[in-house]
Amino acid sequence: MSSERRGFLRTWVVSTDHKVVGIQYLVASAAMLFFGGLLALAIRWQLAWPWTEMPIVGGLVLGESGRVLSPAGYTALFTMHGTAMVFFAIIPLLTGAFGNYLVPLLVGAPDMAFPRLNAASFWIFAASIVLFFAGFGVEGGAANSGWTAYPPLATVPAAAPGSGAGQTWWLVAITVLGVSTILNALNAVVTIVKMRAPGLTWMRLPLTAWGLLVAAALQLSALPVLTAAGLLQLADRLLGTAFYTPAGLYVNAVQPDVAAGGSPLLWQHLFWFYSHPAVYVMVLPAMGFVSDILSVNARKPVFGYKPMVAAIGAIAGLGLLVWGHHMFTSGLGFEMGRAFMLSTMLIALPSAVKTFNWIATIWGGRIRLTAAMCFALGFVALFVIGGLSGLWLAATPVDVYLHDTYLVVAHFHYIVFGGTVLAVFAALHHWWPKITGRALSETLGRWHFLGTFVALNCVFLPMHQLGIAGMIRRTADPSVYQLFDRLEPLNRFVTWSAFGLMGWQLLFVANVVWSFLGGVRVGRNPWEAASLEWETPSPPAHGNFDSDLVIERGPYEYGDAAGERDFAPQARRTAPREA
């Protein structure tokens, strides 16, 4: 590779190649995923054996001094767990790592539209990670008002004893991250809209590209609102304004020395106006990966391509209109609650359409149960569980009971872990040969899938029962209430399973090592896939394509009609270059 002569720094650090930026994102956000997982283990330890000394993880997460958690420590734990996972792991994994790596390849472009901006967005992301960790080091510890940061808890420093500066660092980190994400999304949108290869019409775009495009559009429209809201909260904390602080507060029996008159619910509206769409940012690209992987490995076209595209659009469009379902018990009001309930019910429809189309895609296929395929099938099964429990939550009277219980926690972990994380593993197995030129072990991969699938169900399934029995989330010690006493065995079981789940991920690490040391070298198109990225060498050189392409058909021409092989590549190569 020509990169060998350019030196490590030029190749891996200051490069503007979208593939390098994607790999940088991958490494950084996988590290954050791992870190978020460690925090999750500390959470689980506390919930199973409250206020006892935490082995290993305790030393890592809490530092030597604090092996036994404090109440403030626990609130900081889940705050930082949620933040790390949502903002620093899952979204960057999907839109930063895979988004950057795949977008130009899928549309037949040599790079992103603005390569230097692209590199900048990674480095801004890196800076925001530093800011995120800086929060742990300040007086009073990290932010501890939940990943949702509801004021006045988050704005009146005296209300969250211990969180003096942590919340401010949290806000700054989120704002900086937002800038990075917006730049990244801008690049993705412009690249897909403006730099498609000749003949690549909208209806020939792979669903992965559609998912990434629509997710980026959601980011561009919803994220600036969170940035605005964050600025107001920063002003409340630093300038002493009162956008979110109502009048007449007595905190710790004294009237805090802050201005007053603002509205706490305003923050909730602005926060969820972004963070509800953000959950679809966490699932639309994943749905795209899964559509592609199912089609390749079932050797059948995606069933109902146009309805799939329409469903992606509908999820995004409606996604901007349902934020109030997080606020059914907040004092939102009767009519608003009803309106948001109706829109939330509607948004389940496109997801159902997608689910049935996935099943129809593999129906009657010639299925290759590769590791990627296993993970993709796992995604479908688990997304459905998470989505269906969303229907309980969307029903206003039922949500009155279930809101802020573990049923909510079960709901979204099924989607974000069972769904998105499995989709990420599917995508890693699928595109790893393209990214590195070497295959991952299929055997190890399938074992990794098997254990992960079993363990994650053991972790998240009982959370439904916890929630139905009324156990609230964000509680450091459920044994305070008699009502929750009988849930102790469940809590312990969940914790044991979580340790198993985390431990089992070592198989994936082993697989990565195995691949680098002895993985089979692969050619351009190991999966016999039809879409454009497989026209490039594995790994592609800077500039991606070594021949001109003319796109002649959609990305999913598999099966009997396709000619001598059982698939027809999307592109005809013209003017191939000889080495």
Binding site: T75, L265, G331, V398, R446, Q465, I468, P478, R486, D560
Partner: protein, 255 residues
């Protein structure tokens, strides 16, 4: 390989079903209901639960069958189909109808819970004051008006008459809390700067745990309270005794 896949999907199906079937017997389920609104809420919970269950079983069964069949034949090619408009329309309309049904079914219950028109006209039974990390309660006393000398104050324990509709006024002194009594199936955030009404009818006398359900700082998890429901006569007696207490305490203070 495909045996393994089939086992997994079926295992998930059976595991989930078995676990859900087992849970109520262990007490890992909805706590015993104690308010009149609990009945329709639980009915909705069960009804939607049934829809969820059917949807889940359907999807898993289809998935398992497709994988089982699809992983068998390796030699010949799959039949290339790009879609089927009739099928798309069928499942869109089918699921749409179910969703609209669910949406409509819950409207009356939501109205009973939150429609201001349903608010009892009898006046406030008690004011709930939440603060970090405890509950305080004020009863208007004999004159039915809060803020007068015969107000009765209690801490941690909210005493209410059973069998009749009660109206609470929720206030917070500092951050957002949430008034949650699992057995009554009521939950309402308590937002500082606002007085939020909450009403319900307790179906039986008894003692119920009051839980703070909204993160309110490091003591969130200990912000427990109790709701005690008394038959009307006992409630009146309790209130009367407390009013005399409050008066005599007032008199002492004056001296």
């Amino acid at each position: 390989m495909r045996h393994c896949a089939l086992l997994l999907v079926l295992g998930l199906l059976c595991g989930v079903l078995a676990f859900f079937a087992l849970s109520p017997g262990r007490g890992w389920w909805l706590p015993d209901a104690a308010s009149t609104i609990a009945q329709p809420i639980d009915a909705l919970f069960d009804g939607i639960g049934l829809v969820i269950l059917l949807g889940f079983v359907l999807v898993m069964a289809l998935l398992a069958w497709a994988v089982w069949r699809g992983a068998r034949a390796r030699t010949d090619r799959a039949r290339s189909t790009h879609g089927h408009t009739g099928l798309e329309l069928t499942w869109t309309a089918g699921v749409g109808a179910i969703l609209v049904g669910i949406a409509l079914a819950q409207l009356p219950t939501w109205a009973r819970l939150r429609d201001p028109a349903e608010m009892p006209a009898s006046g406030v039974t008690a004011r709930v004051i939440a603060h970090q990390w405890a509950w305080r309660f004020e009863h208007p006393g004999a004159d039915g008006v809060l803020g007068t000398a015969d107000d009765v104050e209690t801490a941690s324990e909210l005493v209410l008459p059973a069998g009749e509709s009660v109206l609470l006024e929720l206030r917070s002194r500092d951050v957002i809390h949430s008034f949650f009594v699992p057995e009554l199936r009521v939950k309402q955030d308590v937002v500082p700067g606002r007085a939020i009404p909450l009403w319900f009818t307790m179906a039986r006398a008894g003692e119920f745990e009051l839980v703070c359900a909204e993160l309110c700082g490091l003591g969130h998890y200990v912000m427990a309270g109790r709701v005690r429901a008394l038959p009307r006569a006992d409630y009146d007696a309790w209130l009367a005794a407390r009013i005399i207490d409050a008066r005599s305490r007032g008199a002492e203070d004056a001296r």
